[in-house]
Amino acid sequence: MTNKLVFENLKHRPVRTLLGVIAIAVQVTMVLTLVGLSEGMLNEQASRARGVGADILIRPPGGSIIVSGGQMDARFIPFIDKQPHVNVATGTLIFGTDLFNYLTGVDLATFDRLNGGFRFLHGGPFQRPDDVLVDEVYASQHKLHVGDTITNTNHKWRVSGIYEPGMLARMVVPLATLQDLTGNTGKVSTMYVKVDNPANIPGVIAELSDKLKTYKVYSMEDYTSLFSATNIPMLTDFIWVVVGVGVLVGFLVVFLSMYTAVLERTREIGVLKALGASPGYILNILLRETVLLAIAGSILGILLSYVTRFIIRDLVRSSLIQAIVPRWWLPAAGIAIVGALLGCLYPGLKAARQDAIEALAYD
């Protein structure tokens, strides 16, 4: 019977109930979208790193997996190339133009030896120093064709080829050109190594680690396992800030909603008390209403995260990739429920402690 009363109370004020559900849904969607974006972007980068086809990856010292700029001496590349069991070594320079866009400079000759080269859908490799290759996703988002010009790092680049996505980066330019343009002559951000036999990977890693001392040498498998939010400085903190904002939003919305509900139902609370309802019974009704609101809002929020993914991918057509992260559904719902319950506490306790006689006299 209590559940029936709870349902009917929520149905009695449909607009207020709907607004409460939507506010909680927005909170949940915000968390899931942010987590989805971080996971989507990281997964996509890991996938493209694997798509390079290298066995070993060498990086500069430091904890972040996001690297921009030339931090390693490119003269190490021929040295690495000559090591036992190494088939080919090459280096790339990554230069970030903003948070989500960056140019990658490659030496096509050695890069092609690493993995057979880019698979072109249109056009072909660099013809000129200021040529750029773009993947099909980028070309589609920006409506690019072979021969078009784009501006990046204050430089005009001619699209010479559009390649299949899933390898290395979205935009690739000649290594030497990018090094000169960005003041990184002779520098690279990352080195890739292909060995003659996968069984030799651990041995080559050990050898290179010993010889290169300060540089970090990873197998591709170990490297791609690093693509998590915990390895991006401040990303985890940013996620928790958004979670905190979400909890606050849920708290405030439910607080206001339940406070007005308690005021509106003062006489009803008096009636229930006259019937023998304890303060705990009254509080229980409000808590159940709140939990129901939060559950409905969480379900809607999860569904809306599919909508945000659609908007980001198909409507806005940005370079951002949002993954759907089911393992965050329960935590996001839990966060919403906790925030909502906190918001309900004050109005609930106010209702529970309401004097029955005063409540019955309330008009």
């Binding site: 009917e8 009636v271 229930l272 006259a274 019937l275 023998g276 019955l360």
Partner: protein, 225 residues
């Protein structure tokens, strides 16, 4: 409570409200006995203490001093939790403004009273007969907004007695009703008293309504005259 002992026994009952820096002596030593099965009207002008007496008998507020026994239980010194328990099964209320929960049907309003008192299962046949007596058995699926004033008050009466309370407290039950409905409700209260032996205390300003009771108690200035 032993046989012959009044179902309500009040001696020297006092109630003082502290309103700001002023003390309001709502009851100034009330003595009253009500036998089981009696129908008693309490009449008096505004401010005579009728409602305060009701609230104390119904366990909504504690007395300041005096003794009050309801169905053998001493209300003086009861905690809030104990008075809440009293209201579940020992006392039933009927209010002037009906006070039905607007989001529940008539049946739901009756069931919520049972739910609060932890009574489960279907309504017992005797109570179903009472619903027929009250004339509301065909209106139970309607919400209060679809019921007339008279029907709402009859649903309120059903809700008040569904847990078989020892005492039914009716505070101006006909105050919001027209003459025809008033007479119908008062008649039903008398029938409940007569057929079920329900003890009823009724506050009323209306001398005609007061006449439906077995006994009229007059109050003035916090005393029984």
């Amino acid at each position: 409570m032993t046989k012959g002992e009044p179902i309500i026994s009040i001696r020297g009952l006092r109630k003082t409200y502290h309103v700001g820096e002023v003390d309001v002596h709502a009851l100034r030593g009330v003595d009253l006995d009500v036998q089981a099965g009696e129908f008693v009207s309490i009449v008096g002008p505004s401010g005579s203490g009728k409602s305060t007496l009701f609230h104390i008998v119904g366990g909504l507020t504690p007395p300041t001093s005096g003794t009050i026994h309801i169905a053998g239980r001493d209300l003086l010194g009861m905690s809030d939790a104990e008075r809440t328990e009293l209201r579940k099964n020992t006392v039933g209320f009927v209010f002037q403004k009906y006070n039905l929960l607007p989001t529940l049907t008539a049946h739901g309003n009756i069931e919520i009273a049972r739910d609060i008192a932890h009574h489960k299962g279907p309504l017992d046949p005797q109570f179903v007969a009472v619903l027929k007596l009250l004339g509301i058995e065909s209106r139970l699926d309607h919400k209060p907004r679809a019921l007339s004033g008279g029907e709402q008050q009859r649903v309120a009466i059903a809700r008040a007695i569904v847990n078989r309370p020892a005492i039914l407290l009716a505070d101006e039950p006909t105050g919001n009703l027209d003459t025809e409905n008033s007479n119908a409700v008062l008649g039903l209260l008398r029938d409940l008293n007569g057929s079920l032996g329900q003890t009823i205390l009724m506050i009323t300003h209306n001398p005609e309504a007061a006449g439906y009771a077995d006994r009229i108690v007059r109050m003035r200035d916090g005393h029984i005259e």
